[in-house]
Symmetry: C2
Subunit: 301 residues, 2 copies
DNA sequence: CATTTCAATAGATTTTATCTATATAACTTA
DNA sequence: TAAGTTATATAGATAAAATCTATTGAAATG
């Protein structure tokens, strides 16, 4: 069976993007008759008229729109194939762009990045610290090769795998009543007294979920990072949750009491995310393995 | 940027499938030197060695495996493009293969098929009545273009959309104690007395879920269809659930009492499923719309 | 109604793909 | 170990295709 060629599909896409044969021909560096012939051939192969050649721009038929949409995914796949082969041929060389959420990045990178550099000397690791939504955007726009964030995260075209579990601990000002209560349950926390990160941090959402979703309307102060959050707690402004990862990484805990909650353990799952079909999936997973060990060093003391 | 050609990718796939240059060349109807040259060109374009030419068969490098896997999806997509264009050019002509689960098929087809035939005279609708698992297989193997089944159904590479809701009604022998109880709740049903379809029917699983999952070990009799199920109930062997769809379609109800459960309404959602990337998605959705109206005629009396 | 604009066509030319024939390399076997 | 066998690579010729230039045709514009 005669299949359309990659070249013909690029012609079709160029035509759709430019709106005219001449402009499209220019954009793919051929003459107009070449492009005309290529598209005619494509229509013959597919057995259907794809574009109506009107005087004011071309108009795609339903068949043409169908072909166009599928052509775009095929061309994208062909590009990914090429990139994927390069990545498979010499894995973990060149630039790898990794996004990390702000409640993990400061506590992970100092240890993990040198470890990676050591293991993969040719790797140029570029890190971007942003909130989950931005990271997903970055993956979609091919600006990131992978991202580290909190699971579960469901999104179209994004795939994930778990890396490690991160327990939430309770922090309060020294001498706070809950600093000695036993057993300590998330429900014990006075909701009006809890300090949270500003909007957009997934850790904020986790904390809200853990402490009961409702009735949390009136907080006026929100921290911009876990560092300031701890300082605010130390300053007596309230209590909060903090991931064990941050503590193990040595976040300053002067002036606060830190306590585990009574079982069951509450926490978040840290995971790796990548764009489906990405050319660097296997590299991402290799990196994930190294990072995973890095986590374990911290999380299992 | 120079992309690999469709032809080169078919060469690579043929080589993987046949294991030698000569056999692969045969299978794509070119001579061995042509295939050799094509693959060499592909390796140049991708900038990596894809296969090790050993004496006993060829061996794919990691880069080659990466390329191969992606090449297969690209070729599959190219075929789907071609089919999709044909379908878009003259929708709902030719053969359309639709699978339907057994607890829907008998009650839907008599009305729906003539309606579809009338609306799309050129359509040759081929129907296959099988349980959900088989239908999904059929979709995956390209033996079916779409399927009607009960949602939710999650499966890799399968997409769905809802068509209609189908209420479950209670049936019991005439004069059964539950035939007059008010209000009537699913929990009221004596679990040891309930009749179910044989294994594999999703309706069986739905019924089990509705009446409480546990403690349902000892049923000895299982019906092979809703028709026999009703007859067994009429024969005093027990009680059961039956979808409203079947009743509206005129399943014989002599000798049984039929009752709605007290709110909330329990039931199943009927939906359409298709293979992701299928060339006939839009046709399937068009069909679904017609079928949906067909459902509505029945379900909203 | 001439002019402009854009796509289609014709014919020449270049490039690419494929073929036949042969060389080369790695293993087998006598 | 030398001849035979099998599999891929290479060379050169040939066929097929893609592309180019030049031109035509058709629709819109002033």
């Amino acid at each position: 069976m005669q299949l359309p060629s990659i070249r013909q599909l690029t012609f079709l896409i160029a035509l759709a993007d430019k709106g005219s044969f001449i402009a499209a021909a220019d954009s793919v560096f051929v003459t107009q008759p070449s492009l005309s012939a290529g598209l005619k051939e494509l229509e013959t192969i597919l057995g259907a008229k794809l574009v109506e050649r009107g005087r004011k721009g071309v108009k795609f038929t339903p068949a043409g729109k169908e072909a166009l949409s599928r052509a775009r995914t095929i061309i994208a796949a062909a590009i990914e194939l090429k990139d994927g082969v390069r990545a498979a041929a010499e894995p973990l060389t060149g630039t790898f762009r990794l996004g990390i959420i702000p409640t993990i990045a400061p506590f992970l990178s100092p240890d993990a990045v040198p470890a990676l550099k050591k293991q993969y000397p040719k790797l140029r690791l570029y890190l971007r610290e942003e909130q989950t939504a931005r990271l997903i955007e970055g993956l979609r726009d091919h600006e990131l090769d992978a991202a580290i964030l909190a699971l579960p995260y469901e999104a179209n075209g994004i795939e994930t795998m778990p890396l490690a579990d991160d327990e939430f601990l309770f922090i309060a000002p020294k001498n706070h009543e809950l600093a000695i209560k036993n057993p300590l349950k998330p429900e014990d926390i006075d909701i009006s007294n809890i300090l949270l990160l500003e909007d957009g941090h997934c850790l904020r959402d986790h904390a809200i979920k853990v402490c009961g979703a409702s009735g949390l309307g009136t907080e006026e102060v929100r921290a911009t990072s876990l560092f300031t959050l701890v300082q605010m707690v130390a300053g007596g402004m309230g209590v909060s949750l903090i991931p064990k990862l941050a503590i193990d990484a040595g976040i300053g805990l002067d002036g606060v009491s830190v306590r585990h909650f009574s079982p069951p353990i509450i926490g978040r799952q840290i995971g790796l995310a990548w764009r489906k079909g990405s050319s660097r999936i296997s590299e991402a997973k290799t990196l994930a393995n190294v990072l995973c060990k890095q986590f374990d060093k911290k999380l299992i003391e």
